[in-house]
Symmetry: C2
Subunit: 339 residues, 2 copies
DNA sequence: TGTAAAAATGCAATCGATTGCAATAGTTTT
DNA sequence: AAAACTATTGCAATCGATTGCATTTTTACA
């Protein structure tokens, strides 16, 4: 193996008998260079396994072609990192970014530091940021937005914030889920999720709206505030049933994982699903279909969302106006609810 | 907001009334600079939200402090990207890398191109590579290994390849899982997973060893080769039971997700678990405990593995010798098996 | 064939931080 | 108070690719 030294563009140029400018242009497929010359240089480059030094290129062009993807998990780092929905989001983002020629710099811990935007952007580490999740407070996100740095956020696009948000119509999702339960005979419907969380707050609104429209029951004890994890759901439902009995017959949950935890707690007590209690999830992760019973849920179109986010970010680079976008959701009826 | 221009080190130096060399050294905490001067410059930097231009720094130092993490999913991109185990691995790697001052460049698609190692390393995009999963053939991995570029692979560390592998003792895992089933009365034990997959091949060996040691049944029809996804498992088990009846009373699976699919297929046919069929998973993902019944599984210590991988990679940077490491596994008995 | 226009290539400055070596400031010793 | 260090700081080259502008080569046209 001839891995003695790293080759530079100058080396390739010398081998081709041209100047580095020509070599550079050739590799960038600049049509100002004669086709024959271009091909020759490219052939040489691939023959010698040469690739452009990204650091030098980035320094000179002031462009990194890297996007930082930040998982906004300040609150409950330990658990929610295991939610398959997140991986799906990251995977689709990676795909969408690669398709546009960008790379993905992943971070699940920098959100903690106050200076994350500067860290990535003014330091030439990334050209833009995609934040996954608005969390309980979008204060920090908002602060970055005000500096005008390129950023797109996965969250609730209907909430009318100043930055570009892509996501599902959460209020509608909450509404549809609740309506579905009401239509199928549920009277006392729990909301299982943290209404202080920005996205969930919207779903909660939808839940309340559906209930009040249908003249349903809206009591405080029907709102169970928990983190978005299956264990939290399991514990909360177990405890609730234990102390207060089965005073509900339907549950609107904040994610499929949460639904799974609730399901478990109920099944352990031999409570029939969907007959005694019906459950609606959110996300439609791959395994929702495989739960027993299979999970009725609100599907989020992650692939489309990822593409839209990347497009919006690219528009920001180009100085074009961007806007928040609502991604379609869809009720997927399965066996955890009657219908 | 005064986000007019990006500040450079020279600007900060000017503000502090020193040279850029001094400013550079100060920010790098070089003790050769007087403490007072250092503090003053650092204060100025943070006051002006300045951070070092990574591109320039990388160009000059020939070090990126970035590690490329490659999810080796050539075969079944669509499905296995949704396995929560993967996200767990990526999350822990990110944590371990950040702790050592590295950033994580994620890729799930570059493995396809032949030139991935060069793409990341000789182009100054990353200092090293972590490959997650050996897949069915480690030919490409092996080729990179021979070039001597810094790389660590998550896979089977016992298989004696030339590169540094960190992972569980898969053969032992397969053995323990199978033994557990035998000890609890299972006679006809399925192996559900692809024995051509390098890591699973080892588990398969363990499975066979346990069976032959115990004088158990080892027939071809007990080996069901499928992809590592829950749907594949669901379909295979459904079809098998449908066409050949319930000729087995135990299943050793290749992952918790696969176990979930199998569980579902069996429950749909009202086959009792663990009494009629016992199942052992692999990984111990967060929700294994929440399945119904909760899943007996072989736990992989991902956090430790991630730390070891990063350490081994750093050792390679330092020119120190590295070695493959076996991470502890543990049988977690739950209710999908008798005991 | 001479000359204008077009096409192709090269020169050299530049991006911003780092660092070996030189230079200056500050202390201590005699 | 000069010599001899030691502690601080600055100078200037360097990392490798890109690009505006200048120059050379080729083609087109009269």
């Amino acid at each position: 193996m001839k891995t003695n030294k790293k080759l530079t563009l100058a080396d390739i140029a010398k081998l081709a008998g041209v100047s580095t400018s020509t070599a550079s242009r050739a590799l960038n497929d600049n049509p100002v260079i004669k086709k024959a010359t271009r091909d020759k240089i490219k052939a040489l480059a691939s023959q010698y396994n040469f690739s452009i030094n990204a650091a030098a290129s980035r320094l000179r062009t002031q462009k990194t072609n890297v996007i930082a993807v930040i998982l906004n998990l300040i609150d409950h780092t330990e658990q929610s990192i295991s939610d398959p929905f997140l991986l799906k989001v990251v995977g689709e983002l990676n795909q969408a970014l690669n398709n546009k020629g960008y790379e993905l710099l992943l971070s699940n811990s920098f959100m903690a530091s106050d200076d994350w935007a500067n860290y990535f952007l003014t330091s030439s580490r990334a050209d833009g940021i995609i934040v996954v999740g608005q969390g309980k407070s979008d204060e920090k996100i908002d602060a970055v937005a005000r500096t005008g740095l390129p950023m797109v956020v996965w969250g609730d696009p209907t909430s009318g914030v100043d930055y570009t948000v892509v996501g599902s119509d959460n209020k509608l999702g909450g509404y549809i889920a609740t309506k579905h339960l009401i239509d199928n005979g549920c009277k006392n419907i729990l909301f299982l999720g943290d209404p202080e969380h920005l996205e969930l707050a919207e779903r909660y609104k939808g839940y309340r709206q559906a209930l009040s429209e249908a003249g349903g029951i809206l009591e405080d004890r029907l709102t169970l505030s928990i983190d978005i994890t299956s264990t939290a759901a399991y514990e909360k439902i177990s405890e609730t049933v234990l102390h207060h009995g089965l005073f509900f017959d339907g549950i609107v949950t904040s994610s499929d994982m949460v639904a799974l935890g609730a399901l478990k707690a109920l099944k352990e007590r031999y409570i029939g699903i969907p007959n005694e209690v019906s459950i609606v999830g959110f996300d439609d992760i791959a395994m929702a279909e495989l739960f027993h019973p299979s999970l009725t849920t609100i599907r989020q179109n992650v692939k489309e969302a990822a593409e839209v986010m990347v497009n919006q970010l690219v528009r920001q680079f180009e100085g074009k106006p961007t806007q928040s976008s609502v991604i379609d959701i869809e009720l997927i009826p399965r066996n955890s609810t009657r219908h």
